[in-house]
């Protein structure tokens, strides 16, 4: 693979040094990539160079033109810098332990994001469809519960309010 990334091996495999090459050959390691970015999302590569990933599932969360029924012109994302990245990474690792997926890449955008633009981009690769779908569902569900990122609604008059109380 081409990207700087975090590798983690499944389980607690103890590797004897004399069997190292054989063990490495059979060990399936997950690749996780977490990026919090300020500009537009750059989609993760969806190319044909994987020969054991029968399923590739991509989720794009996009900004809608209303929040809680009120018209908005954009969303501004705010993060707890450091903690957001750490919580996302921890969550990705948990997801890879909980579901038999291969790789999980996630990009979350910060700052002002216009209507229709992608704020969250997640790609999951796995052998079969089932685990990719379940892992995607769980990962995003948990992200929305624990990763310290918030939305500010930009209203038509230009004011900016925390999304929940867009009065």
């Amino acid at each position: 693979m081409k990207w700087p990334s975090f590798h983690r091996s499944k389980g607690d495999n103890k590797i004897e040094s004399k069997n190292l090459l054989g063990a490495l050959a059979t060990l399936r390691s997950n690749m996780i990539k977490i990026e919090i970015v300020n500009g537009p999302i750059t989609p993760f590569p969806s190319n044909d160079d994987r020969n054991q990933d029968g399923a590739e599932l991509v989720f794009n969360g996009r900004v809608r033109d209303t929040e809680h029924g009120k018209q908005i012109t954009a969303i501004e994302y705010e993060q707890y810098e450091g903690m957001a990245q750490a919580e996302l990474s921890k969550l990705a690792e948990e997801t890879c332990r909980k579901f038999p997926i291969h790789d999980l890449f996630c990009q979350h955008r910060m700052g002002k994001v216009g209507i229709g633009e992608t704020s969250l981009h997640v790609s999951i690769w796995s052998k079969h469809r089932k685990e990719a779908i379940e892992a995607m569902d769980w990962f995003i569900f948990e992200l929305k519960k624990r990763v310290p990122i918030w939305k500010w609604a930009i209203l038509p008059d230009g004011t900016k309010v925390p999304s929940e109380c867009a009065h």
């Binding site: 969360g61 750490a86 929305k144 519960k145 624990r146 310290p148 990122i149 918030w150 999304s163």
Partner: protein
């Protein structure tokens, strides 16, 4: 930045940094608050203080506590130099 002092002796204080996000930032009008707290103060004491300062604007907001960028479940004692955040419901995605 605002600075509050709850201590009566200089020896018994600790310096705490509070990070403010979303509704907490909106209510307090600050990104970050530096406070001197009495030794032995807990996350509970600090949350009470923050909610008072918000003048009712955070009454309907549930807050989770993070100390040094880790969620903490129960009331815990703070120590000098801690970074604390009262985390309103998150909205990523």
């Amino acid at each position: 930045m605002i600075s509050l002092c709850l201590c009566d002796s200089v020896v018994n204080i600790m310096k705490i940094k509070i990070k403010c996000f979303s509704q907490v930032k909106y209510a307090l009008g600050e990104n970050e608050i530096k406070l001197d707290l009495e030794n032995g103060s807990t996350t509970y004491d600090l949350e009470k203080l923050i909610r008072e300062k918000a003048n009712g604007q955070l009454d309907d907001v549930s807050l989770r506590v993070a100390v040094n960028q880790q969620y903490v479940k129960d009331e815990s004692e703070l120590k000098d130099g801690d970074e604390v955040a009262f985390i309103p419901p998150v909205q990523g995605g």
